[in-house]
Amino acid sequence: MAAVATCGSVAASTGSAVATASKSNVTSFQRRGPRASVTNDSGPRLVSIAGTRPSVRNGQLLVSTGLPALDQLLGGGLAVGTVLLIEEDKYNIYSPLLFKYFLAEGIVNGHTLLVASAKEDPANILQELPAPLLDDKCKKEFDEDVYNHKTPESNIKMKIAWRYQLLPKMEIGPVSSSRFGHYYDASKRMPQELIEASNWHGFFLPEKISSTLKVEPCSLTPGYTKLLQFIQNIIYEEGFDGSNPQKKQRNILRIGIQNLGSPLWGDDICCAENGGNSHSLTKFLYVLRGLLRTSLSACIITMPTHLIQNKAIIARVTTLSDVVVGLESFIGSERETNPLYKDYHGLIHIRQIPRLNNLICDESDVKDLAFKLKRKLFTIEVREFLCFSLQS
């Protein structure tokens, strides 16, 4: 399997590479962003990567989360090199949607994806991504492009459709790279051609945990250790951190980790209050933060925080993440029948926004936000209060 082949001899190859990277103070890799060397004589070079834009406040590179409303609440988007933590709603109905929007945005922009899950095969997750809402005019052009570029070889490739291709053979339609943040139709699926044209890597824990790889001694649970090595390997091999001399990467890596901290990952923080692995998750987040800060990547993690027994761990996890968004759905609670909330499906709490390269952050003034999932769109709105009760 190709997946195992890429992971072979991870420790040996990355060890020497990391050593050379850390010893060289100046790399040819420069980018304008939170990790750009500010006193570089050549000045920060504006890197125009598809699907990114510099922040208005300090020129930091931002990517869209897939939900333009959420981008606005976060101050323009998710900064490259940071983690977006989604605290799952109680029955895990709406958080997978945000997860899929993030990945779908990556496919539309041509970013590389890394999908990690302990529950679902990443190939299946990609099949269920929502379709982007293209303008009618562009849609027609897109269909024509697909028709013209289709060759007999691509039919053969469709048999092994889930294998990623290093170079996309088909041009994505003109709408993808010019806009920042797209809208998606939750009722339709992403076209198969777009998924096949994208470059993605999957990490499905039951497959990886059985293979015998040389595991570096670390006190994390084996699932987390393997995932960290996988992510580090992809970042190095595909050149997202600029340390690989053979690979000059000018793309973003979007990492999506689903249900982190759940018992399926081998972690017991959701089962016991003072388990043996209580530091595993926080250590994982710390090392992941280190990997992200030194590479062109952005990460979304969904975590069932409502299941974590030890409240102190939730506080520590929040500190170690950059953006924290909590979803609270009304299903099963008394708010479902409350007339105040009848138009909405749940509340969305922006719990934390990072202050990167700055003393201040773009906090939104409005803290009372609710979301609803209409047939096509996931919208976030300010809760409107009806004052009927005040009138006698």
Binding site: S219, L228, K283, R293, N358, L359
Partner: protein, 274 residues
């Protein structure tokens, strides 16, 4: 550094007190602006600074430092600043076997007992150089932030031991040939978890509160979010070695953080309200 905060603390870079442990604490808000203040303060005071930055990258502090008037890259080049970038070092330690003991060696071990390698790193960084002339005034250790060490598996007692060893070295060490006190300062940041019932963090916070000379506590407003007042700062001067005859002085101010400075005002006297 923030000039208004210097006025409140009654210090300037030229005549700062030595041999002191300052505790920065934040509850329900982000107290990192205090770290940026002290970093630029001590760099301007021409001190040798060892900065153990566990939570953010070097470029983050560097970019904010430029807004506050110090260049971290130049300070690092001329030897004034020794910077341990925790995030980058953690990646090195976890993915690659190290030959020499690494300051963050405890990340590789399942039950690391103590922070000795980290202490050795700090001691090595702040050792006075035998060049004859004193280039820097006094050494300073800055840690941002200590609560991360708890998240990484160290116990509260191990962290308190580390601080104790650092204090003994930085604040009071005697040089062998000449008897002079290398009276340095220490500034550490700890998060207050509030009602999150983080026992280890509470132990650490209480233990440090009793040892420190100055406590700066940034709190979020009890009434919630406000656009014009970002929080409240409580300043507490303590004299831990002297008997409790002199009452500890305590002041409370509210603050608003701007792009390059922080403005302080008395409670309820925000310019937006008046």
């Amino acid at each position: 550094m923030f000039v208004e905060l210097n006025n409140l603390l009654n210090t300037t870079p030229d005549r700062a007190e030595q041999g002191k442990l300052t505790l920065l604490c934040d509850a329900k808000t982000d107290g990192s602006f205090l770290v940026h203040h002290f970093l630029s303060f001590y760099l301007k005071a021409n001190c040798k600074v060892c900065f153990v930055a566990l939570i953010q990258s070097f470029s983050h502090y560097s970019i904010v430092g430029q807004k506050l008037g110090v260049s971290l890259t130049m300070a690092r080049e001329r030897g004034q600043l020794v910077f341990l970038e925790g995030l980058k070092s953690a990646v090195d330690v976890v993915f690659q076997a190290q030959k020499e003991p690494h300051p963050l060696q405890f990340l590789r071990e399942a039950n690391a007992g103590n922070l000795k390698p980290l202490f050795e790193f700090v001691r090595e960084a702040l050792k006075p150089v035998d060049s004859g002339e004193a280039r820097w005034t006094y050494p300073v250790l800055l840690v941002d932030d200590l609560s991360v060490l708890l998240s990484l598996g160290m116990g509260a007692v191990a962290v308190l031991d580390f601080i104790h060893y650092c204090r003994a070295t930085v604040c009071w060490e005697l040089k062998a040939s000449i008897l002079y006190l290398m009276q340095g300062n220490m500034v550490v940041l700890v998060h207050d978890s509030g009602d999150a019932e983080d026992e280890e963090n509470d132990i650490l916070l209480n233990g440090l509160s009793h040892q420190s000379h100055l406590i700066l506590r940034a709190e979020g407003l009890a009434t919630g979010f406000c656009r014009d007042v970002h929080g409240q700062l409580r300043i507490l001067w303590r004299r831990p070695s002297q008997p409790a005859v002199h009452r500890d002085q305590s002041f409370t101010y509210q603050y608003k953080i701007q792009d390059k400075s922080v403005s302080f005002f008395a409670k309820g006297m925000s310019p937006a309200v008046l």
